[in-house]
Symmetry: C2
Subunit: 205 residues, 2 copies
Amino acid sequence: MLLFADAQYTSPYAMSVFVALTEKRIPFELKTVDLVAGANRGGEYAARSLTQRVPTLVDGDFTLSESSAITEYLEELQPEPALYPADLKTRALARQVQAWIRSDLLPIRQERSTYVVFYGPSDAPLSAGARDAAGKLFKAAQALLAHGGEHLFGAWSIADVDLALMLNRLVLNGDEVPPVLREFARRQWDRESVQAWVNLARPPM
Amino acid sequence: MLLFADAQYTSPYAMSVFVALTEKRIPFELKTVDLVAGANRGGEYAARSLTQRVPTLVDGDFTLSESSAITEYLEELQPEPALYPADLKTRALARQVQAWIRSDLLPIRQERSTYVVFYGPSDAPLSAGARDAAGKLFKAAQALLAHGGEHLFGAWSIADVDLALMLNRLVLNGDEVPPVLREFARRQWDRESVQAWVNLARPPM
Ligand SMILES: [Ca+2]
Ligand SMILES: [Ca+2]
Ligand SMILES: [Ca+2]
Ligand SMILES: [Ca+2]
């Protein structure tokens, strides 16, 4: 398979698919597309990717964008090791986290872009809107982790990676984050498949 | 089951779940939460909904927010009639559309809110950013419908509703939309389950 990511390896969604492929030990080649130069909006990439975004997975003559659609595809293609919980309701809760992380908390995503995570902190303080979003994030994450376990849903799932990345926008920037969430984010960050993404060679800023 | 929607019935995501329940003929009660008054951010609703958004589905003692997680849950709970295509790759493409509609095309979602769809048109012209997003939307929708069929993926799927709603932000506002996409959006709008949502009694603005 072939996975397209952004040239700086900062896309949290490309990371999610990278981790999914790595966890499943599916061999893949990693290619990049230069979003900063707009290379995704034209030429071969735009012809291939319906949504002109990263990540895009190419599996033979099948091309698929949108990270959560890709991780669901990989799960159905090769169920083991699992990316999603086996239980119907628990799987629904993992999908809830994935969908939420991708469509809400915009002020955090804007003010703590993943450049903060992969290139270095920002010294701009959080706006009122971002502090409000952070409060909502902490409340939800604390509720999900109230069981005191290592992962969100018993065994590891792809939702752990997605939630940890959202938290790490704040943790790795030095913003205030409740200790139990800081520890969760660090634990998830230490995972081998995540470290393989973190340690990719990035071009200088 | 119990479905929470916004008090004006303008949430495209609540609509998507309403249509899913209706298509599957699962009996449900519809309740509203007043987003304008912030009723989702506190009290009983915030205690119930992890993400404090609509829609939220309550199934016995199980509570789930995020529309795409809910429609996947309903599909697994009661597979027939299907919301998603049966074929692995086609199902992935339907999920691609769902994920995309929920996380991209922000200028269209902002400048053509669903108040335009359910209450009446806006006379503000589209910004350059929204026109750019519309161009991207049209290109993708035309590619998906290049087969000339009635639905995106052979049989009807929940992705038809989601794409048609995004197109109808423009169509129903009188913005310029390619005829083949206008016709697709109108056809999907005429569907009985969609009309059941459209015809809900809305409070005056
Ligand atoms: Ca996605
Ligand atoms: Ca992680
Ligand atoms: Ca959703
Ligand atoms: Ca429709």
